[in-house]
Structure formats: structure tokens, C-alpha cells
Symmetry: C2
Subunit: 495 residues, 2 copies
């Protein structure tokens, strides 16, 4: 893209910003629903292109497209509901404990144009019309998506479908636009018209972009989702209760989408002495070869897999395969190894990194009481952490582990597997560094809308100059949290 292209795109986003922000909630919601319906209407074409460009399966891609459409519709509900505006109204209070209190009313406004860097591994759900785009559009922000090079045609098709639908439903021109090329992404991130950035991808690139965002003459918030190894901890009692179910679930979770998921369990802690070898091997062998997303991911996976397989002390349970064609494109089956926890500690440099592909490491531990401190010694922040305990198991060891997980991840699971992130109001997808650049928010679920808004207060404003959500007649019927006069007299009495 030329500098002129980028200039035109940034200018259009900036022009669209006040117009899109001013579209009333019901109309904005209808535009999101129209975009969702347009995606579903174009399903066959979009999924076929996605399949070709990414090697992901038809079933997976159809499901992902549906999820992406549902996500837009869910955000339409959020827009109409209006809770996200966090409306607070302080009534004027002549008897306020610190002197006369003015009438103060606060809500959240859209930040302005957002730049969203798409991921390779979810060509719908974390790409042009994915979660961050839906959240930003819902907030009232125009979006520029830096398309991922792994699915360039799909990106343009999706942008075309969605932007047409939005504009037909009354959104201004420039509400959703796409750019491509790494340099274009970096240049756009530096543009003063961009007010927030979001990203899903590697630690290396995410860190580089976060640093650029922070170093701008006017710094902006940057929400990057980077790397995560999502440890799973299985207690002896859980294994006794349900070894077959755990093995089934583990291998499925590692193998699904060829392990190219940010929540893939990279480490499973199991009691030493459990005989997994056969159960793992049998299950892994049943998994058919799956294409990796692109040559870049193939070569990254190849290095990680070689490093793991060549580490002294590693026992191979399922060697799996990685076949690479003349153009560098890979096909893989699951590779699953085991190591004693002491080896993992000694070989942490070789073993602890995320393997983006169908590889996982079973870590054999001796003492469940030490799991929390072992985890603390080994891991930084993660998106998720999972405990498999027996029914009713509630030991000090489990409690210590849950405390560590609460401190070190964004989502703590009990049973089940971290892959497959529900799109709901309570979901949290984001954890301490390096799983994200900023763990104050989420990239999945409705709470994500907060990323793209900022608060503004109005003091003693006449009714006719107040924004709709702050008016006493509340024309949008949004939740208003009101603090009546007189309350301050009792503060501190804690009645």
C-alpha cells in the first residue's frame, strides 16, 4: 500500500469517528446485526476461501463463522442494553460533607479510530470481523484492520461483505477498512488519528507493536494477546476417577486445529508413575494429519518440536509427524512427550516456550502439595490454567494451586479444557504478561467493549446540552447509577 492509500484510509476513519459515534444505539445495533447476517449469507464463499488459505477444516471454519456472527449479534445486545456506558449521576448536594457538591454525570465515550492487527489462526473470529472489531464497532469506534498475510483474499472479502452491510445500515463510509503489509501496520500504528490498538499473535511482534504504541508522541493503549502455555494440573484422585476421559480430552484439545490455538494446553502435570504411554500413543495415532496454517508457522513449529524432541530426559509418548513440502508448507500429527518435573526445571530454556502446533508436554510430579510452588517457579502469566480434581476434592494443595492460578492467569478452569472459549458476558480472555500486554481487559466476551471507551464527566450541564445517556428523561433507557444527595453524611459509619 502506498503512503497515499494509508493517508486516505486514516483520514476516512477520522471522518467516520464522530459520525459513527453519533449513531444512536438501536441503529448501531441494527448495523452490527446486518453485518452478522451478511457474513452468514456469504458463508459458502467465505468458508471455501478460508479453507484454501488456512488449511483449517470446513466444520471448524463454519463453526467459527457462526461464532463470529453470533459475536456481532451479542455486541448488538450490549449496545442497546447500555450498561457498558457505566452511567453515574451524582445529584447536586448542598449538604455534601466537603461543601456544596455539583451535579456531576459521567459516562463512557468511544475513543476514536482503532487499529486491529488480525491473527492467522482464527481467520474469522480474530480477524477482520472478529472480537476486537466487533467490540470497537459496538463502542462506536471506526476500525482499521491490518489483515493477516495468512489469509489475504479472505480478509478483503470479509471487509467487503461487512463494510457494505454496515454502510447499507447507515454506518458512515470508513467505519470498517482493511490495510495490508507489516510496514503499513507499523506506519498506521504511529498515525496520530489512531486512538487504540489491538493485536493477537506472537510475543516478539506483540512486544514490538506495544513498544511502538507506548513510544508515540501521544501514547495509546495497546491490547496485545501474545503467548500462553495454559498449564493443566491433574491430581492423583482425578486420574483415578477418570483417566480415560482425561486422556481423551487432552489429546483432542492438543490436536484440535493442529494445536494452533492460543489456549492449547502446552503442559499437563500428572502424578509420576501413571502409565500414560499406551493411552496417549493410541489416541494420538488416531488423529489424521492436519495442515499447518502457513510456512512461517511450519518453520516455527519445526524448530520448537526439534528442540523438545532433542532435549535430554524427554520421553517420547507419541512422536507424531511433521511433513514439510517444497514450499515450506507443513502437515502434522500430534507429538506428545513426558518429562519428570526436575528435568523441566533443568531444561527450562529448551522446554518452556510455547509450541504453536500439536505438541504438548506431560510433566510428572511426585508431590501434589508442591504443585503451586512448582508452577510459580516455572511459569509467567497465562491466558488459562486448569485443575482436574476428583469430585469434592478440596485439599490445601488444591487451594494453593487455585490461588496461584488466580494470580497468574485470566481464566481458571475446573475440569474440561481451555480450548473453545465461550463468547459470553462473564468470559475473560487475557492474563498477566506475557499472555497479554495489558491484563486489565478481555479480548473475548462483552466486557471487551471497555477497551474502546473512555470516561467523560459533565458538571452542572443544562439538560438540553447533556448527552442522551446522562439525561434525567433517559431516552435510551440505559442503566443509570445515581448517588442521591445526603449520603455523604454517613460515609465511614459502614452501616
Amino acid at each position: 500500500m502506498t503512503d497515499q492509500d494509508l493517508e486516505m484510509i486514516a483520514a476516512r476513519a477520522a471522518e467516520a469517528a464522530p459520525l459513527w459515534a453519533a449513531v444512536p444505539p438501536r441503529r448501531r445495533a441494527h448495523a452490527l446485526v446486518a453485518a452478522a447476517d451478511a457474513l452468514l449469507a456469504a458463508e459458502s464463499e467465505l468458508v471455501a476461501t478460508a479453507e484454501e488459505e488456512t488449511g483449517l477444516s470446513d466444520a471448524r471454519l463454519s463453526g467459527e463463522l457462526k461464532r463470529t456472527a453470533v459475536q456481532l449479534k451479542l455486541f448488538a445486545e450490549v449496545v442497546v442494553d447500555g450498561s457498558y456506558l457505566d452511567v453515574r449521576i451524582d445529584d447536586a448536594d448542598p449538604n455534601f460533607v466537603l461543601g456544596v457538591r455539583p451535579d456531576v454525570r459521567r459516562y463512557r465515550v468511544p475513543v476514536g479510530p482503532v487499529l486491529n492487527f488480525a491473527a492467522s489462526n482464527f481467520p474469522f473470529a480474530f480477524s477482520v470481523a472478529g472480537g476486537d472489531t466487533a467490540a470497537a464497532l459496538a463502542a462506536g469506534c471506526p476500525v482499521i484492520v491490518k489483515a493477516h498475510s495468512g489469509h489475504p483474499r479472505l480478509s478483503l472479502m470479509t471487509a467487503d461483505v461487512v463494510s457494505r452491510a454496515l454502510e447499507s445500515a447507515g454506518a458512515p463510509r470508513g467505519t470498517l477498512q482493511v490495510i495490508s503489509g507489516q510496514q503499513a501496520g507499523v506506519d498506521m500504528l504511529k498515525d496520530p488519528r489512531i486512538k487504540a490498538g489491538s493485536f493477537t499473535g506472537s510475543i516478539r511482534i506483540g512486544r514490538m507493536l506495544a513498544d511502538i504504541a507506548a513510544a508515540r508522541p501521544t501514547p495509546i493503549p495497546f491490547y496485545g494477546e501474545l503467548g500462553s502455555v495454559n498449564p493443566v494440573f491433574v491430581t492423583p484422585a482425578a486420574l483415578e476417577e477418570n483417566a480415560e476421559g482425561i486422556l481423551d480430552g487432552f489429546v483432542s484439545s492438543v490436536a484440535g486445529s493442529a494445536g494452533q490455538l492460543c489456549t492449547k494446553p502446552g503442559f499437563l502435570f500428572a502424578p509420576a508413575g501413571a502409565s500414560f504411554a499406551e493411552g496417549i500413543a493410541t489416541r494420538a495415532e488416531r488423529v489424521p494429519e492436519h495442515r499447518l496454517l502457513n510456512p512461517g508457522i511450519t518453520s516455527g513449529y519445526q524448530s520448537r518440536r526439534d528442540a523438545v524432541l532433542n532435549t535430554p530426559g524427554v520421553t517420547v509418548l507419541a512422536e507424531g509427524s511433521l511433513r514439510v513440502d517444497g514450499e515450506g508448507q507443513g502437515w502434522a500429527t500430534p507429538t506428545i512427550v513426558s518429562v519428570p518435573v526436575e528435568v523441566l526445571k533443568e531444561q527450562r530454556d529448551a522446554l518452556l516456550d510455547e509450541s504453536f502446533g500439536p505438541l504438548s508436554i506431560i510433566v510428572e510430579y511426585d508431590d501434589p502439595a508442591k504443585l503451586a510452588s512448582i508452577a510459580d517457579e516455572l511459569f509467567e502469566g497465562n491466558l488459562t490454567g486448569t485443575v482436574h480434581a476428583a469430585r469434592g476434592e478440596n485439599s490445601a494443595a488444591i487451594r494453593a494451586l487455585v490461588a496461584w492460578l488466580t494470580h497468574s492467569t485470566g481464566r481458571v478452569l475446573f475440569g474440561g479444557w481451555p480450548t473453545g472459549v465461550a463468547v459470553t458476558p462473564a468470559m475473560q480472555h487475557g492474563g498477566p504478561w506475557p499472555s497479554t500486554t495489558n491484563d486489565s481487559s478481555t479480548s473475548v466476551g462483552t466486557a471487551a467493549i471497555a477497551r474502546f471507551t473512555r470516561p467523560v464527566a459533565f458538571q452542572n450541564a443544562p439538560g438540553e446540552l447533556l448527552p442522551e445517556p446522562l439525561r434525567d428523561d433517559n431516552p435510551w433507557s440505559v442503566p443509570q447509577h445515581r448517588t442521591p444527595a445526603g449520603e455523604s453524611q454517613s460515609w465511614g459509619s459502614l452501616e
Copy 2:
């Protein structure tokens, strides 16, 4: 402070973190109230020391101490109320539109130890026991305050009073600690045990610290409040309606605390041709000399004042005075000048910076319809912006100005003056860069608690392992936002 001192302080804060986070809300609230009461009990000693170290008046300091105590009590209410936990519960939903939905429960947990850089100009309210400290303690985070060199004895006294009160009320050792020295602050900001930073001060220092926080191996959020010139816009009709009241309020707001307030109105836009000269001069002359906080602020104010007075095209309405003693300590009376808007545009490099002291610039404009575009051309982000309009005035020009203010500030005032920030649930103190490093939150008012929390979700957790706020029996009686099963079927229908 030695490296060993800093190491011990960081270690204590890290040890205190899980303990303070685990203190149940009512006990945490009681500890905050105890701290507030202890401050009030020590008033005479604290205020006398503050007066000596800062030169601020007894009345101002007593009021500020009361405000600081009330702020702690208000946060005690916030802790008990529990809305800030943002509890969201998704009921498990077998009929969820994207397949079986798990039980997901999300709330906000404390981030861990917070480093708070105190300001010079509010030795109580933005210092050791000030707003950021209160918000972080309320959130359940231990706080290390980097004391301001402008009131070192007061800082230690305050820390002593407050930490004793907290610990007597059951807070762990290390819940509130103080460090001093610039290098100590920088070193502590780099310590991996520190999980968030806050700051109130200059653009230069705030930017430096924000850059350090962003460049850490593990970046952390940094909430800096930097510079703001708080423009005020007076319409011709407002002036006609209430010229005397506006002049009174303006001079008081500029002169209060010798203009050393982050919300001091630095520019007042008034219709050209209004004859202010006499009204301003008379009022300014009545203001007694006031000490500036310290020699550093004196020399900064001296340069700004000289630059403004020596700029061609500036008319002096009240020259005021700045007397500097042999030790560099200054005493000042208000300096108020006027310039035509065209001169301000031409001389922006000399005139547009914040003058931290009792100086303000009246800007004469010709056409009210152009105010919004003039403001947009001149100003970056500000903490506040104020409109003085006549009763019922609701022109396109006013609306454009309000739109610009909403976009460019954190608080829009109608009538009144931006100094004197109410401590309330709806207050917003924080606006676009450079008024803050991060305009997603506030440093005054109860919403500030969000700075020091991050979300965590629990998926399919057994009741006995859920944190109290997420349990069905809700032992802390916090607001729980529940999403029942079945709702997803209607998403997008926007009924």
C-alpha cells in the same frame, strides 16, 4: 535509601499483597476508616508541618486533610458495596447458540503492589494517603509511595499515622510504605514485584516514568496525570448576563493556592472588545502575596511568566509580582494578560504551555461560531474544559464547542470553575494526552479503584473453591450480574 532498604520494602509489599487481598471487605473497610480517623486525630501536627513545608494556608490544608479522610471513608463504602468487583455470572446453558456453554464467573482481583508517586501541590490529597493510595488500598493492593521532596517530613509523618492505623486494624505489615529520592522511585518502578504505577506531576517526569513502565521486561500499567491548561470559553451572552460574577470566579480560580492546581484555568476565551482591564486589575490587586511550593516550582514559574510577559502582542491586565528570596523561594501575586486569538496562534510556542502558578491568559475572539475550531487548532488533551453560556443558550456554536470538549477533555463544566474537584462516584479526573498518560480511568472519585484491579474468570468451579463474590450464596452480598440460560436464542432480534 540503600538498595537493601528498597529490597526490603519491595519484599514486604510482595509479602503483604496476598494477605491484604485476602482481608474480607468489611475488615478492609474498617481499616480504611481507621486510617481516616487517625489522620483527623493528628490534624494539628500534620497541618502545621504541611504549612511549614509547602507554604499553603492553614484553611486550605485543613480542608485538604478533611477531604483526604473523607476520601478514605468513601472508598470504605466502595469496598463494602462491592460493585467495583464487576461480578458477572453466566449460568451453564445447554442450549447456547454456539453449543453447550459452561458456568463462567468473573470478577476483579487486586493487581498486587502499587507504586504511587506523590505530587507536591496537594500534600495530603495527592500524596501519601491521597486518592491513588486510597483507591489501591481499597482494591486490596499494598502501596509504596515515592514521597515528594517538597514535603519530606510530612510524608513520613503521614505514613507513620496511616500505616499504624491500618496495621492496628488488621492490615499486614507492609500495606503502606514510603520511599524517597528520585533514583529510588525509578529503581522501584523497575522492580518486578510492582504491578502498577501512578503519578501526578509534570509532563517531562511523567513521560519519563511512563516510558520506564512500558519498557520493563514485564510492562505494567502506569497512570500519570501530567499537564493541563483547562480552557474556559465565555460567550458574549454569558458576559452580558454576568460579567462581574465571571471576573470574580476567574480571578479566584487563578489565584487560589497561588495557581498551583492542575485544574487552574490557564486560558479564558472572551469576546473581543469586552473591557476587562479594570475589572481584572482591581480584583488581582486584592489578592495577597502567596508563597510558591518550592524553589523548583518558583524557577519554572519565573521562566513561564517572563516568557509570557515578553511575548509581542501580549497586553498586561494585571502584572502581579514574583519575589524570589536568596534561597530561590518565591512569593507571587496573580499575573493576568490578554492576547487576540491571532496572536496566540502566532506565538503558540511561547504562550501555550502550562504556567504552574497564578498566571492566566485571556484570549480575545471575534466569532463565537469559530470557537470549536480555534480550540481544536490550539489545544491537545486537557483535564477539564468549561463553558460559560447564558441561561438557555443552545446555539450550534455551543453544541460544536461541547462536542470538542467531550472529545478533548475528561470533564466538561457548564458555569463554575474547574478548580475544586468533587470526590464522588461520578467524578472524572483524567483526560486525553498530555493531561494524562492513560485516559481510560480517573484519579479522583470512586471509579479510580478500577485502576488497581484486573479480571479473572472461573469456569465450572465447584462451589467450595469459588471466591466469595462469585458464590451462589453470595456471602458478601455484592451485586452479581447474572446471564441466565436460554437468552442467546434471541440475540440479534433486538427485541
